[in-house]
């Protein structure tokens, strides 16, 4: 990248609120993976005479997001109509919020971590709106699924405070984590729950970024649907704009909207800012303004669940885990929840952390599975760990058992039984074999007596060989040592 330029990136992040029972202005179920056009009430298809009714739970979650983002909450809640025609918008308008009157949140900021460095981004606003239906286009026809029409959607708008694709993605990951931890959304981009518009501009590096007149021409890239896409689109756009500078065509570039073509790996021109749609906003008359009481806000604030950064601190300070391990554990809420459930079964934090962060996540990665796809429960993992710590199963075997149970969706206890890999638990049995081995290895006894104490490892190996690994190594070690001392 050309170092003469500084990049300014602003994001508009749309995230569906998935954790409400019903849609935002409709009593239809808010649920993703159903049969197309099954979660619909008349209002979702704009039948004449239907009216929107605000879902208080969705407002509550939106206000929670607003509080977490350190935004100012409004005294009164209003909704607005954004008028435009598109087949995915049956009413011919979307119910949303504008910055005037105030949306659920305005003028906030969020600190986040990017490659170990703390960054801060200012939030212009966050608002609650309804999602449109989803459309699929085929050769000669298109299909519309109104299940998504009316699903609550949070749109977050940042200031152009981000300076690289990495920062943008780190911010988005932080937001995803917040939405997940706060119980607002699954925030799963594979389900189309997260969609982003990205604003990119470049400016001369030596100029003052805090002065808006120094900014370059803003290019908006619409509908980028994955974090990878955000990264690639930004990097492509930066290169494209720098290239325009080099060829002397930058000044001709107009403020414009482009779209990200994932297959081409390019941003493609859509329209000039001059052709921007006039949405003819006005206050939705069917939703009376309602007061957001301080008491309600306080109640929401108090009920914000523990977020990733708080859990991370807890893991480091109270559970004495390393920052590295804590970071891995809290990255996905599902992993952190799994970890905490394993702790509840009485497993030591450090041991649980090792099993989960290094062994289990490694396996899942290999198997291309996610924690929510597996049948292994925290209790099952805890039982397996206990067997290993008690010495009933060796660590090596334990790892094999875990992999197999993740791979084949089996209970680890069943895997142990099936493989017959129970360790020889009884002392007498091991002692018998220890004596056998010592009788076969008289030289080793002499060497031990002569001070070569590490010969004991060789003897442990011999016992393991005889038992095909079924003897507990530390018990074997202790018994061997005892026997050698006695001779």
């Amino acid at each position: 990248m050309d170092n003469n330029y500084k990049v300014l990136i602003g994001l508009e992040m749309h995230c569906e609120i998935s954790e409400t029972n019903t849609k935002v202005f409709s009593s239809a179920r808010n649920s993703y993976s159903d049969v197309p056009n099954s979660n619909i009430r008349p209002v979702d298809m704009a039948f004449p005479g239907t009216l929107p009714v605000v879902n208080k739970e969705a407002v509550k979650k939106a206000l929670m997001a607003s509080i977490i983002l350190n935004c100012k909450q409004p005294e009164y809640m209003y909704f607005e109509r954004k008028n435009y025609y598109y087949p995915d918008l049956p009413k011919g308008f979307q119910i949303t919020q504008e910055t005037k009157p105030a949306p659920v949140g305005i003028y906030g900021s969020l600190k986040f971590n990017c490659n170990g460095e703390e960054k801060e981004v200012r939030i212009n606003n966050i608002h609650l709106e309804e999602d449109a239906a989803s459309t699929d286009h085929y050769g000669s026809y298109s299909t519309i699924d109104y299940n998504r029409a009316g699903v609550p959607l949070l749109e977050l708008v940042t200031y152009p405070d981000l300076h690289s694709a990495e920062e943008a993605v780190a911010f988005l990951e932080t937001m995803r984590s917040i939405y997940q931890y706060a119980g607002i959304s699954e925030a799963d981009s594979k389900k189309g729950q997260i969609r982003c518009d990205v604003n990119v501009s470049i400016m001369d590096k030596d100029k003052d970024e805090s002065k808006e007149e120094n900014w370059g021409t803003k290019v908006e890239i619409k509908n980028v649907n994955s974090f990878g896409g955000v990264r690639d689109a930004i990097n492509y756009e930066i290169e494209r704009q720098i290239e325009l500078k080099h060829t002397g065509n930058y000044d001709e570039m107009e403020q414009q909207t482009r779209r990200w073509d994932e297959e081409l790996g390019e941003t493609v021109y859509m329209r000039s800012k001059v052709d921007a749609i006039d949405y003819k906003y006005f206050v939705e008359p069917n939703i009376p303004k309602f007061k957001i009481s301080d008491q309600w806000l306080e109640e929401i604030r108090k009920n914000i669940p523990e977020l990733a950064n708080e859990r991370k601190e807890k893991y480091m300070n109270q559970l004495e885990l390393s920052e590295y391990d804590a970071t891995i554990l809290v990255k996905e809420k599902s992993v952190s929840d799994f970890f905490e459930d394993v702790l509840k079964e009485g497993v030591e934090p450090k041991i649980a952390s090792n099993w989960i962060s290094s062994i289990m996540l490694g396996n899942l990665n290999k198997l291309e599975k996610e924690i929510k796809d597996i049948s292994l429960t925290p209790k099952m993992l805890a039982e397996l760990i206990t067997k290993v710590t008690k010495g009933e199963v060796s660590i090596k075997q334990g790892k094999e058992v875990l992999l197999k149970s993740l791979e084949e969706d089996l209970d680890p206890i069943k895997v142990i039984d099936d493989l017959g890999i129970k360790q020889i638990g009884s002392l007498d049995e091991i002692k018998k074999i220890v004596i056998e081995v010592l009788e076969e290895q008289p030289n080793a006894i002499d060497q031990y007596k002569n001070g070569k104490t590490n010969i004991i490892d060789f003897l442990v190996g011999q016992v393991m060989k005889k038992t095909k690994g079924r003897a507990n190594p530390s018990t074997t070690y202790d018994l061997l040592k005892q026997e050698l001392e006695n001779r």
Binding site: P52, Y85, K91, P285, P288
Partner: protein
């Protein structure tokens, strides 16, 4: 013996005593429907297979009534008198109609209106013009034209209406009956095809204040499907009618009622205003105080424009769902945009298209503050002005329109500039959501004229009671249209 020309209580008593059955009432009402259809073209649909309902202690049980065609009725064609919905049969019923059904009311027809309520003449419905039963060369006004015509002609004791500017209260006056729109949100709008949501009211057309109270008592109630509805369970309109109005204070606005405002006044207008003056004397004779008040003329002059701007803006947006894609007759076209354009071009009448153009224009970013926001500011000023009047007075009493029903021939839905305020002042009731009722107050050239009483929000009982006492004294209660021309 006929019953459909009687009041609800009398019909109810006849039903209860077994003098007549619900079946017979329906029969009578259907026969009259067909007669009135021939003469006035008042109905989009006549429900010839209407079934009788059990007669209970509920006053409306077993009694026929009419539904304006912008109320969604499950399984029954509901067109809003528009070609865009000419084949639309809804699968859900408006809350207000559900409420009437719970009382055992029997719908026998769906009435013609101005297309989607956007007109005041009864001439813009897709099934043709509605004629006034008093004189078929004249209009009923609108938009609840068919409902007004049918009630006036004695098809049944009541019909539902809706009122965005004066769509219940003006046709009531032209047809010599009672038209009442209660406080905004008292009746749920769920299932009412919207025109301008912030101004739309449900209400009723009847031949007496008592019947209006009975019907709205049944239609009203908080509805979880309409956030603007409110709990009115402590309001009992019918029970609170007692006719005792001694000491009540009314006012009328000089700038609207004084004949001196109209230098080019026709004989009709002069008679109408004189008649109104007489009506005020009747009020005084009932023990009410009546005073003249003055309101800034500039504010009143802005009224009609405010209404046009706000109602057109909301209507443009409200009717964006009419694309012919999900419901309504789908049009041909190469793609969805073409088919949508074709559907809307062919489906809407020119009057509606004009309003859409106005609505879009006033909402455009560069015009919004000048037109839409200013209109909202003036709306607020007018409402504040009227609320100030309500601090001192129980109600504002004003004449409806500039005289009796207008001739259809001369009409082009354009207003005479001189009498604009007189024609449009009822819209203030929609701006403020005020309870407002029109009752007949006499005749001009043998045609009925009306007077309107409007009070402060939630004070419906008081407003109706004043109208009830006045109606009793005026003596036009229960009148049926006699063809005069």
């Amino acid at each position: 013996m006929t019953y459909m020309n009687k009041g609800i209580k009398e019909i109810h008593e006849a039903l209860q005593s077994g003098k007549v059955t619900s079946r017979e009432l329906i029969q009578e009402s259907l026969e009259k429907s067909h007669q009135v259809q021939e003469k006035c073209n008042a109905f989009v649909t006549i429900l010839d297979d209407a079934k009788e309902k059990e007669v209970t202690s509920d006053l409306l049980s077993g009694i026929p009534y009419g539904i304006k065609d912008n109320y969604s009725t499950k399984g029954i064609l509901s067109t809003g008198s528009s070609n865009t919905l000419k084949d639309y049969v809804p699968f859900f019923t408006a809350t207000a109609i559900e409420n009437l059904s719970k009382q055992g009311a029997v719908p026998v027809n769906k009435t013609v209106m101005d297309e989607f309520g956007m007109g005041g003449t009864g001439t813009t419905g897709h099934t043709g013009i509605v004629r006034n039963p008093w004189d078929t060369k004249r209009m009923c006004a609108g938009s609840s034209s068919g409902s007004a015509a049918a009630v006036a002609a004695g098809v049944y004791p009541y019909a539902t209406g809706s009122d965005t500017g004066d769509s219940i209260r003006k046709p009531a006056a032209y047809c010599g009956i009672v038209g009442y729109k209660p406080t905004y949100g008292m009746i749920s709008r769920y299932g009412l095809f919207p025109f301008a949501s912030s101004l739309d009211h449900c209400g009723a057309l009847t031949r007496s204040v008592e019947d209006a109270a009975i019907v709205v008592d049944a239609m009203k109630g908080i509805d979880k499907l309409d956030m603007t509805s409110w709990d009115s369970s402590n309001i009992h309109l019918y029970e609170s009618l007692n006719g005792n109005v001694t000491g009540k204070k009314l006012c009328y606005v000089k700038e609207i009622c004084d004949i001196a405002n109209y230098p080019n006044a026709t004989e009709e207008l002069k008679e109408h205003l004189q008649n109104f003056k007489n009506c005020l004397e009747v009020c005084r004779s009932l023990g009410m105080e009546v005073e003249e008040v003055s309101v800034d003329k500039t504010l009143l002059n802005a009224l009609a424009s405010v209404y046009v701007v706000i109602s057109c803006a909301e209507a443009t947006s409200n009717m964006s769902n009419l694309t012919g894609l999900i419901f309504g007759p789908r049009s041909e076209g190469r793609d969805y945009i073409e088919s949508m354009k074709d559907y809307r071009t062919k489906g809407f009448s020119p009057l509606i298209k004009r309003r859409f153009v106005i609505g879009s224009y006033v909402l455009q970013a560069q015009n919004k503050d000048r037109y839409f926001h200013n209109a909202q500011r003036v709306r607020r000023l007018l409402v504040d002005e009227w609320n100030k009047l309500f601090e001192n007075y129980d109600a504002v009493i004003l004449p409806v329109g500039s005289g009796p029903a207008k001739l259809l021939e001369k009409n082009d839905d354009m207003l005479d500039k001189d009498t604009t305020i007189l024609e449009e002042h009822l819209q203030i009731g929609n701006f403020g959501g005020f309870p407002s009722i029109t009752i007949p107050d006499g005749f001009v050239n043998d045609l009925p004229v009306g007077v309107n009483i409007t009070g402060k929000c939630y004070d419906d009982e008081n407003v109706l009671n004043i109208a009830y006492a006045l109606e009793e004294k005026l003596g036009y209660k229960g009148q049926i249209a006699k063809e005069v021309a």
